[in-house]
Symmetry: C2
Subunit: 198 residues, 2 copies
DNA sequence: GTCTATATTGCGATAGAC
DNA sequence: GTCTATCGCAATATAGAC
């Protein structure tokens, strides 16, 4: 019961930060949403920035699933798929989370640069290795420039979550919305068909 | 000579906003960079927000090249290419510009929502029509879900600029950087190969 | 641990001299 | 048109009572 407040603050902060970003959210808003006092943020986390840091770290930890050593042993196309599925899983757990991760990719908070850079570098290296490996195995086209190819795949996957608020409102005429799973599946189909050797 | 200050403020604001975003930039910073007085911002633009609005509008106007009526008459794959080239041109003119456009796509400023939505809707419709048209002409696969396909292409193009600061520092070991033109060319090759009917 | 009250800072905006 | 000085506000952080 004692730690309940801390947990509620963390949860409230996650939702608000994800929705509106660091600057647009005040510690009072967070405290209100958590049903706690704003002074509790300093008490538990030290400062708003440290709270934010904790939130981001918790979210980005979702990427660790993709960073398991076992991943590197998969077939190249499976590695690409796994990256997309990991982000999808993060997003499924809480619709605001992947947006969070993506936002930190685009504009890392100053105090988190080291952390983000380290994570992204690791993710990048696995994807780059997968592409290189696929080329070496004759599965992917030889003329692929590896770095661009990695960014392309990251773009196809991340942009969907980044722009979620926008595209979910576009084209409202047509029936139904895009389903995450279908989007990812189609992305993978198109990308693999696009880089496959023929 | 009289209007020089206004112009310099606009220029300084563009650079700073593009780099750090609206919230992280103060009117005093803008004035300093422009070598002007912060009171000049109210004088010329009315408020910080109106200055921002002017900056965004000027940047987003770059998209108008893509919104020319003549575009719709091009072949589907040419339309896709034109979208990418338009963003590339925006970016080439000033390395911070496309990032700007992309950021407003991801998180439109409250006061600009109407404007952004309108522009994006128009861009989206042209791209969606191009995809639909390509399918009808038997050029693209029939199983493509149009909305997802549009977002995929937008993602491939936009994410490159969004994440520019990051990926330009990744993989520093390898020689040279990715050239915008080459990235776009490869993106188009992969995407078209990925959606083409076979 | 929790709350109130407040210290402190930095911001956007403006009044008014020149 | 441009500058200085300052107002008013909102935000973070903290001291101190309970």
């Amino acid at each position: 019961m004692e730690q309940e407040n801390k947990e509620r603050l963390l949860k409230a902060a996650t939702g608000l930060f994800a929705e509106a970003g660091y600057d647009k959210v005040s510690i009072r808003q967070i405290a209100d949403k958590a049903g706690a006092n704003s002074a509790m943020i300093s008490y538990y986390f030290g400062s708003k920035e440290k709270l934010y840091r904790e939130v981001v770290m918790e979210q980005v930890r979702g990427l660790d699933h993709f960073l398991r050593p076992a991943i590197r042993k998969l077939a190249p196309e499976k590695i690409l798929e796994c990256y997309a599925l990991t982000l999808q899983a993060i997003h499924a757990e809480h619709p605001a989370m992947a947006k969070f991760v993506s936002r930190e990719i685009v504009q890392p908070s100053p105090s988190m640069k080291w952390f983000i850079r380290e994570k992204l570098q690791a993710v990048y290296e696995i994807l780059a290795e997968a592409i290189a490996c696929g080329i070496a195995q004759g599965k992917f086209r030889e003329d692929l420039e590896i770095r661009s190819t990695v960014i392309l795949w990251a773009g196809m996957v991340n942009f969907y979550y980044l722009a979620y608020n926008i595209h979910s409102k576009l084209d409202e005429v047509s029936a139904g919305k895009i389903v995450d799973k279908d989007y990812i599946a189609q992305a993978l189909r198109i990308f693999l068909a696009g880089i496959e050797r023929r």
